[in-house]
Symmetry: C2
Subunit: 165 residues, 2 copies
């Protein structure tokens, strides 16, 4: 069953098929089932299907070009006004849930880092109208996969310590 976690790979190529509203709802339900400090849920999600907005997001930085082909982006935002300490950690837990759900549904997605790069946060904030103090942490590019990758772990014994460093 853990295979479902190992099967999540970064998918950057998509078919033309749109992502259905049912799938968008399902991946957001998975995201919002993440744990959060004091259960404050300091997250917001902007689901972008508008072609012009996707193209503008894709022009933000050279490494985001796949957004120009993607039918969906989900921008994961954290709100320090809701949880000063854990707004970023909790939002990333929700993000990872969402990516696993994408894979489980037969969709494909890739995590594009935004925060803490001001030259990315600024344009994303402007394109989507994200208000202060909310921070766009990451952009997830999502679609129906047009590439296949094998499941894999990257298990490395050197990163594992037993009872002490």
């Amino acid at each position: 069953m853990i295979d479902a976690i190992l099967a999540r790979r970064s998918i950057r190529k998509y078919t033309d098929e749109p992502v259905s509203d049912e799938h968008i709802r399902a991946i957001l339900e998975a995201a919002m089932s993440a744990p959060s400090g004091m259960n404050r849920k300091p997250w917001h999600f902007v689901a972008v299907t508008d072609r012009e907005k996707l193209d503008r997001l894709g022009a933000t930085t050279t490494s985001w070009g796949m957004l120009k082909e993607a039918p969906l982006a989900v921008v994961v935002c954290g709100d320090p006004g809701i949880s000063e300490k854990y707004w970023d950690q909790d939002s990333i837990a929700a993000l990872e849930n969402l990516l696993i759900a994408v894979s489980m549904l037969g969709l494909g997605g890739v995590w594009l880092g935004c925060h803490p790069n001001p030259e990315r946060v600024g344009p994303v904030r402007e394109i989507l109208g994200v208000p202060e103090p909310v921070v766009p942490i990451a952009v997830l590019s999502i679609g129906h996969p047009a590439e296949e990758k094998e499941p894999r772990t990257q298990y490395d014994e050197e990163r594992v310590h037993r009872n002490a460093w």
Copy 2:
């Protein structure tokens, strides 16, 4: 299949049964299958099964008492020396993978926040010998569940924005 994500709940009560080495290996494989910026994998994991160390961790702060009953803790650490920008985000993605794997295997676990609380980071660093600049981000308390919780989402339409805020 997304049900497996919704089924992950915070489990704070455990039976006396130890967590097997096979299960420890499996949850660490799941953790290390997470994506990371530039695939740098800036994470480390300290698997603690030593009773005395678990008890000392459990005495760090009043909200960590369940560690005194838990047969296993996994301390998730991030290394800014490996990824200056994404050490914390990538380590949290691995953490969330690990928590979902725990649930999938029929184990139970709960995320105990450590960073950015110096009064927690300091003792954890000292008890486990975590070297600078590595940061103990969170402690996961894990065991065989002695409590049951229903799957649930916390879906909130107010946190969802379509194409713009």
